[in-house]
Amino acid sequence: MLPFIVRRLLVSIPLVLLSSFLVFVMVANAGDPLEDLRLNPRTTEAQIAQAERNLNLDKPVLERYRLWITDVLVEGDLGVDNKQQSVGAQLRRSLFVTLRLVLAAIFIAIVAGLAVGVVSALRQYSLFDYGSTFAAFLFFSLPVFWLGVLLKEFVALPLNDALEDLGFARFFGTVQENTPGFEGGFWDRLNDTAGHLVLPAFTLVVISFAQYSRYTRASMLDTMSADYVRTAQAKGLSRSRVVTRHALRNALIPVTTVIALDFGAVFGGAIITEQVFQWKGMGTLLIDNIRQLDVNMVQGWLLVTAVTVVVFNLVADVLYAYLDPRIRLD
């Protein structure tokens, strides 16, 4: 397995480098990051020229890329953004925010998706099965930005009003991770954090949930029809024992790899969800810096996300081989 891992990593490096080059060229040619400065009637030409030099805008794109990649590879320095702020510091901050959201969302999606998938498989063609299938396809089709806005308008606001009418505090937050200016003890803060986490996590959950439930259902059906499962049933083992001790573990193998792949993809920034709920994570960081044509910041985001996707893809493959001894990684 080790040679396989090393080979995969080595192949990934040029892939990441190529991605970084393409994105750099696209963002660098997308517009002028100094337009605000140029439009200020009190800015001197020398200031504009100096700002251009600070951002290497006076150099050709290829030369700019070379300078950037040299700093990254040789010094591990992601540089500064257009406003001379550290790219690394902003990435660290945003990463932590996104991790919190994504981990919560994926955890809920896994638990709910697996449970629903298993039950759907065991009760195939039942009302529950039809219902969960319908829900899965519905959730697949929902545009995330639309869902987020609907949740705010038709879930958070009415429920909060109802809570207030009943004499309770409003619970669901619609922006940011905590109530602005929140002051309170540990449990109050936990409650406040939960209230702000529910809606964005749910928005992220629905699509992942739909995906996991369908995969689990299909995999479970496949496993339940296997010879060894029929043998176990014929031997007189209880249904629950057959499902939990024999079928479920093997059914989860492909689902586990799907989850690993999904984590890498979602981690890149639940861009729309973060925008709608104003979580200043990786997604918001990307959108804001594309708008500002901040090449260094976008490149930093890309590196983090690309490495995450590569790592989790690799984890998915390794996990698959680890869980299924029939698979050999060469």
């Binding site: 140029r38 009637p41 100096q50 406003k83 308008e153 940011q176 200016g181 804001d288």
Partner: protein, 579 residues
């Protein structure tokens, strides 16, 4: 989660229905609304129905997170940073909703004590101290001046040949005319002497910097303190650097999340009413109305968009106002173009434009008090405003436009005019894309000019590089104006750095020379209006309209007043929470 004190949405809808019914009855009986025109001012508070009291928190959504707290540094020169920090650092003046400069009498008296040479004397309140107990002294005034007077250099720019200044100040206007700053008869008296007159002297020292903290922020280097000392990452863990000379002090700064201002206990003036001003960074304006409806924010100042304004208007317990600020749209005419180099063509374009129609379709959609802008230097709310363009170009006159073109030798060639030597009168109109408002403006301009036989091609660009390079015929963009009239110098002076139209008018240059050193405000206003009259005669640019701004607050917060010149936070110290 904070409780929202206004009623439930259900009760709100019933009240709204009742009010609508009453409004219908009232409309049937009442007279027309008094329309006193638009301008960068609404000097009445939003209609709060309750009186606030001291205490409580006010949550004010911030649409643009600061990149550094020193907004006078060129890289961090953002409007929202100024809105926030004007409550913290000492501010000798503030601009009223009518554009006049108001003196912060809690802090200072200001007097023009000499005209030739120009001398301004600031007499500080003897109790004035920074929040760390350090007295506000002449050192602070000197540092504020030296960091923005563009004298200290590090060499010469290899491309432009211009000097490279050590302090990366956003502007040096005015400060470069100061000769010295010294203590007067006491440590509270600051005497500022000018080497050459500067007419906008009142606008300087806005804010006053705490010199000792800038020095500390730069580890002993005042230049580093100015250029990088107040960046977000430095400040977040070093709030001690951000001392206050105003009603509020920064007590928390979480990058990416929020900033919190609390009442400055060292503030010697009238104490602010609210205990805390909480400033969450909600950078997507579209998310602010739902946050307000959910009781998470109390005041917002998002970019005005029709949908957002309508959505906010439907929220129960929220008041809002649309004002017209100091950012204004206009068309520049590049006189390097063979056609636009002729005055008759520029006049024909001005005659052919129906600016009333443009205003009605665009800014008037927000509020019907929007009006056509007929002055390049002052705004309608300002008493110095004179509608210099109204008489000649106030209404569309296609016949006059055609007569001008024909008088210049153009011939109607099947719908579009053609010049015998200069060819067909086809022009490009360029703007920075994407920008829906400008796109719509350009389309309106096109449809109007086509009626006068002027061919217009829409030619949007993804950036503003076309301005500097002169790669445009008609250029559609905006300027920020209002507070410092002398800043128009670089836009309209013959060799001005921002004179993108490229038209040289020696009489305008002479008038600017005179106006920029004229210390009598009435005389100066007259000179500025003379400049505008000349610009209307020569037409390098055509003003269109002021861009609308939108301010909203829950009705349990009182004294929120729109001020197009100073921004939404100008009187935050007077905002109060109703219990």
């Amino acid at each position: 989660m904070r409780r929202r004190d206004t009623g439930s949405r259900g009760r709100g809808i019933k009240v709204l229905a009742l009010l609508m019914g009453l409004a219908l009855i009232a409309a049937a009986c009442g007279s027309d609304d008094d329309d006193d025109g638009g301008g960068a001012a609404v000097d009445e508070p939003t209609e709060t129905t309750v009186e606030g009291e001291a205490g409580g928190d006010i949550v004010f959504a911030v649409e643009q997170e600061p990149t550094g707290l020193n907004w006078l540094e060129a890289n961090d020169n953002a409007a929202w940073t100024a809105y926030i920090m004007q409550l913290v650092w000492a501010m000798p003046i503030f601009y009223e909703p009518d554009g006049t400069a108001g003196i912060n009498e809690d802090f200072v008296d200001i007097e023009l004590t000499g005209e030739d040479p120009q001398v301004v004397t600031y007499t500080m309140n003897p109790d004035a101290v920074w929040s760390d107990g350090t007295a506000i002294t002449v050192d602070d005034w000197v540092y504020t001046w030296e960091s923005q007077n563009c004298t200290q250099t590090t060499g010469t720019d290899p491309e432009t040949g211009e000097p490279l200044y050590a302090y990366n100040a956003a502007s040096c206007f005015g400060y470069e005319d100061i000769e010295s700053i010294e203590e007067g008869d006491s440590s509270s008296e600051i005497v500022v002497s000018y080497s050459s007159p500067y007419a906008d002297w009142i606008s300087l020292f806005q804010p006053l910097f705490p010199a000792h903290k800038f020095l500390e922020a730069g580890n002993g280097d005042p230049v580093a303190g100015f250029n990088t000392g107040f960046k977000v990452e430095t400040i977040a863990d070093n709030l001690d650097l951000v001392v206050s000379g105003g009603p509020y002090i920064v007590t928390e700064y979480s990058p990416g999340e929020q900033m919190i201002l609390e009442r400055n206990e060292q503030w010697w003036g009238e104490p602010p009413l609210a205990d805390r001003i909480i400033l969450p960074f909600i950078t997507d304006a579209a998310q602010q109305p739902s946050a307000m409806a959910n009781g998470e924010i109390d005041v917002m100042f998002p970019q005005a968009q029709i949908d957002l304004v309508d959505q906010t208007a439907a929220i129960a317990g929220v008041e809002s106002v649309v004002g017209f600020g100091t950012f204004w749209e206009h068309v520049d005419m590049n006189v390097e173009n063979v056609h636009l180099g002729k005055l008759e063509v520029r006049q024909a374009i001005a005659k052919a434009l129906d600016r009333d129609d443009i205003v009605e379709r665009l800014p008037a959609q927000f509020d019907d008090s929007a009006e056509v802008l007929n002055n390049r230097i002052f705004f309608p709310a300002d008493e110095r405003y004179e509608a210099n363009g109204a008489d000649e170009y106030g209404e569309q006159d296609l016949e006059a436009a055609r007569a001008l073109l024909e008088g210049a030798g153009y011939v109607d060639d099947g719908g579009t005019y053609t010049h015998p030597t200069d060819g067909p009168l086809n022009l490009r109109i360029t703007w920075r894309d994407p920008n829906p408002r400008r796109e719509q403006t350009a389309q309106l301009v096109q449809s109007q000019l086509v009626e006068a036989g002027i061919g217009i091609d829409l030619a949007p660009q993804p950036d503003f590089l076309w301005l500097d390079s002169g790669n445009f015929d008609l250029g559609l963009f905006g300027w920020t104006g209002g507070k410092v009239p002398s800043s128009n110098d670089s836009i309209y002076r013959s060799d001005g750095g921002q004179n993108h139209a490229g038209l040289a008018i020696p009489e305008v240059d002479a008038l600017f020379d005179e106006a920029n050193i004229e210390l009598d405000e009435e005389t100066r206003s007259g000179l500025m209006n003379e400049i505008d009259v000349l610009l209307w005669e020569q037409l390098p640019t055509i003003p269109l309209f002021q861009v609308p701004e939108f301010l909203a607050n829950v009705d349990t917060i009182s004294n929120v007043v729109y001020n197009g010149y100073e921004g939404p936070a100008w009187n935050t110290f007077a905002w109060a929470v109703a219990n």
